[in-house]
């Protein structure tokens, strides 16, 4: 279904890669020759059938522009995006859960209000603005982090983390804001339950009440939000990778859309859809682990 929707949307969208390839001086004959060469003149069902048949064989197709296999083009782009995604998920989860729990613990206090103001600011702030702000402050003025210059993990973990620090921070701040809000409200809801009162009555420490009795039951909405934030990251990375010049899948998608390199667009949308399905599956499995009462 994802494949059908993806292919149809790309097919009906405006833009003609043949016109882009042909250049301004091309004659109609050249333009037609390029269209023929790229297979645009075939009927829609034939094009889609051909694409599906190749997809079933693990062949994502060939780029119109570079004439390279898409799997060959995607492979070197995976590491930057996966690394960025992993770091952002870990960091935003740490920040979000920590600040959410702190706010719940001090509910109604000045600390709680300040943390929630920051959280609201976090998800109200446009990603591109925050990205440019961090570049201006930490790269141009302070010189602490590079503006560009992605370093792969093979160059060393520390250089890699250093080169990724600003994009990771920007995405983490944005993603953690929502996690923090949800953690706080879920914790507050659970803290009102009778069994929390019982735990306190039997003399359990506040730490034990929070971590052992309150956090686990409230983790289900938090896990849901983390799963959803991973979906959001897919679109966020398009922006982040473009601004920070990271050679990942997000930038590849933008470049392909600008050029109307349809096979790459289709392939990347399929990759994103597959990742989202996998994330949802993992979150569903986690539900059962977090709450043993849940059975599938």
């Amino acid at each position: 279904m994802v494949g059908i929707i993806t292919f149809t949307l790309v097919y009906v969208g405006p833009g003609d890669p043949a016109a882009i390839i042909a250049g301004d001086e091309a004659t109609p004959e050249i333009l037609e020759e390029i269209r023929e060469d790229l297979g645009f003149n075939r009927p829609f069902p034939v094009q889609m059938g051909d694409w599906f048949w190749k997809l079933l064989q693990g062949d994502l197709g060939t780029s119109y522009f570079s004439r390279r296999e898409i799997t060959e083009l995607i492979t070197p782009r995976l590491q930057p995006t996966l690394s960025l995604g992993f770091q952002v998920v870990v960091l935003s989860t740490l920040i979000g859960i920590s600040t959410g729990m702190l706010a719940a613990w001090k509910a109604g206090s000045r600390l709680d209000r300040n943390l929630m103001i920051l959280a609201v600011l976090g998800f109200a702030t446009p990603g591109f603005w925050l990205a440019f702000l961090t570049i201006w402050v930490f790269a141009v003025n302070l010189g602490w982090f590079p503006v560009i210059g992605y370093k792969p993990i093979q160059d060393g973990l520390i250089p890699h983390l250093h080169s990724m620090f600003l994009p990771v921070m920007v995405n983490s701040i944005l993603a953690s804001a929502f996690i923090s809000r949800i953690t706080r409200s879920a914790m507050l809801e659970v803290l009102r339950e009778d069994y929390i009162r019982t735990a306190r009555a039997k003399g359990a420490s506040e730490f034990s009440v929070f971590i052992r009795h309150a956090f686990r039951p409230s983790a289900i909405p938090v896990a849901t939000v983390i799963g959803a934030s991973i979906a959001g990251l897919a679109t966020g990375f398009v922006l982040t990778e473009t601004i920070f010049a990271i050679p990942g899948l997000g930038r590849m998608l933008v470049d392909s859309i600008v050029r109307r390199d349809y096979p790459i667009i289709q392939a990347l949308l399929m990759v994103v859809a597959t990742v989202l399905i996998a994330v949802n599956l993992i979150v569903d499995i986690l539900y059962a682990y977090i709450d043993p009462r849940i059975r599938y």
Binding site: E25, P28, G149, P247
Partner: protein, 574 residues
């Protein structure tokens, strides 16, 4: 009892936050190392790197070249993403960068806009002017060790025969029907170009143009012109391809066996020198990031950024703004549908748009500030030998709205809807489109402003009935004059979006002068006539000239705009 419990809680949260801090601290510690590395590299660059060509005059450039030191790593920010390394297949600027380093053509432009030798050693012309025999330089090697022969030359010309516009023009209008009769091999170092009638464009046909025939090996020249060559480029240029990280950068290093032209370096022609140990093109798609990368010494040269970033760079003492040749902003009429193709009123309506237009306002909307624009009425480059203002009086920047309004009304097109394409992702065209909308509405048209991205516009303009007007811009075409003008010239006669209707044959007659005549005085007179005809018939809207923004580190000396004879534009910059 409560205090220790609180402390445990606080400890847990603090530990979580501390984890984050450790990451930050680790990175910060590393920052010092990296900064030191960059600084030490910088020292190397300052000591070793002196740049390519020169300051303002050819003499100064030659003197600077003599004193230039070699070494260092030049990092250039590339605007587009490289998809193909085949400049014979695409005119994308990101691919065109390959040309200047790795590939070479038979001829190139000199400083004074004349044609200079590159891979050609010499040539002779038969007494009737119909047979041109060229000898290529002996001993020129490709980067894989293959010697350059006429096989590669003829193969490359054959591949480009359908796409290199000047070559195609000369073949189609002045050559025999068959390519094999047009270009013939004499021996391994000589080939001939055979004509059926004389033309003054032979050297231009083998020189720089869109899809310039640059010499490649058989693995590339045997491919169809419409197919991108796979793999990386192998040429005869001063640098050879080194490595490519898709989406990030590609680099080139000096070619040890490079055989430079014996001619003195002059513009893009003559002897080339690989001054740098490495040249890298780094892809930075966002313009603000490009500028920040220059300011933080992550790159040495950046191209194309918006006017609002200029002040930031002017305030940076480590950065220089580069004099760059101007671009020419244009507006296209659709000559194939009403109202601009109306046999009775089309010409008048086009003239109405031109006479009502506020060129200054459009240029400012396109380029930002007065120091970035040049009100230029000439359809060829202002400052060039082709410049002419014939016919532009009371037409260019005349803002005769009332006169134009009457023309539109009398023609019966008042309230007619003009579909104006507005590529919002291209500021020059987008800015001008906003002014055009005002002008068209002021003179009585109804405007359907169609906001889209550039790629959509490229598609739509190829479809006859989807538009009436759009803006675009072009570079220079100084060398061969009006026939080389991308937007209306001979080269565009059959192009897929132009289709200007030369109703009385004037354009054809004048083009014949430009392509056949060798007397400069007659060509100049024809230019004046053509300029007059251009405004009389309002072939398109000449908006004016604007300057694209480039900047470089101060450690690089001697940068100047593209060679080819442009006047120095330093007066426009700090």
């Amino acid at each position: 009892m409560r205090l220790p419990q609180r402390l445990r809680m606080i400890s847990f949260i603090v530990l979580s936050l501390a984890t984050l801090l450790v990451v930050a601290c680790a990175s910060e510690k590393e920052t010092v190392t990296v900064v030191q590395t960059v600084v030490s590299e910088k020292v190397v660059e300052v000591e070793k790197v002196v740049v390519a060509t020169a300051t303002t005059t050819a003499e100064e450039r030659a003197a600077a070249a003599v004193n230039a030191k070699k070494g260092g790593h030049l990092r250039i920010s590339s605007v587009g993403s490289v998809q193909s390394f085949d400049p014979l297949w695409t005119t994308a600027s990101s691919t065109g960068n390959v040309s200047s380093l790795i590939l070479e053509a038979l001829f190139a432009y000199k400083e004074d806009n004349t044609i200079g030798k590159m891979l050609v050693d010499d040539w002779t012309v038969s007494s009737d002017g119909l047979k041109w025999t060229f000898k290529i330089r002996d001993g020129v090697e490709f980067h894989n060790g293959t010697l350059l022969t006429t096989d590669q030359v003829i193969g490359t010309l054959r591949r480009q025969s359908e796409r290199a516009p000047v070559f195609k023009l000369v073949w189609e209008r002045f050559g025999p029907a068959s390519f094999d009769e047009f270009i013939t091999k004499e021996n391994d170092l000589e080939f001939s170009l055979n004509l059926t009638s004389q033309t003054g464009l032979v050297l231009d046909a083998l020189g720089p143009q869109n899809f310039t025939p640059q010499m490649v090996l058989s693995s590339w020249y045997t491919l169809p012109a419409t197919e991108s060559a796979p793999g990386t480029p192998i040429g005869t240029g001063p640098y050879r391809f080194e490595s490519w990280t898709p989406g990030d950068r590609w680099s080139a290093i000096p070619f040890a066996n490079y055989s430079p032209s014996p001619e003195k370096s002059d513009g893009e022609a003559g002897a080339h020198t690989a001054y740098f140990d490495r040249v890298s093109y780094i892809e930075i798609p966002d313009q603000s990031t490009r500028v920040a990368a220059l300011q933080t010494d992550a790159v040495d040269l950046v191209q194309e950024f918006s006017q609002d970033l200029i002040d930031r760079l002017k305030a940076d003492s480590n950065v220089q703004l580069i004099a760059n040749p101007p671009l020419r902003l244009l507006g296209h009429f659709n000559y194939q549908i009403p109202p601009f193709n109306d046999p009775e009123h089309g010409r008048d309506l086009r003239r109405a748009v031109v006479m009502a237009y506020n060129n200054e306002k459009a240029l400012l909307a396109a380029a930002g500030t007065p120091d970035r624009i040049n009100l230029c009425a000439s359809l060829m480059e202002c400052g060039s030998a082709w410049e002419s203002n014939a016919g532009s009086e009371n037409m260019y920047n005349a803002q005769r709205v009332e006169d134009a309004k009457k023309i539109v009304k009398d023609a019966g097109y008042e309230g007619y809807t003009i579909r104006l394409m507005d590529p919002a992702d291209r500021q020059p065209a987008h800015g001008a489109a906003q002014v055009t909308r005002e002008v068209l509405e002021d003179i009585g048209f109804n405007v359907d402003l169609r906001v889209m991205d550039w790629a959509t516009m490229v598609q739509d303009r190829a479809t006859v009935d989807r538009w009436e007007f759009f803006h675009t811009w072009s570079g220079r075409s100084v060398r061969i004059g009006p026939i080389g003008h991308l937007r209306f010239g001979e080269l565009q006669y059959d192009a897929w979006f132009n289709k200007y209707t030369d109703t009385d044959g004037t354009q054809r007659k004048l083009f014949d002068v430009f392509s056949s005549e060798t007397d400069e005085a007659k060509i100049k007179a024809a230019m004046e006539e053509f300029q007059q005809y251009f405004y009389d018939d309002a072939i398109f809207l000449q908006v004016g000239e604007f300057f694209s923004n480039w900047a470089a580190s101060n450690d690089i000396d001697g940068l100047h705009g593209n060679p080819g004879g442009q006047k120095p534009y330093d007066k426009f910059f700090k």
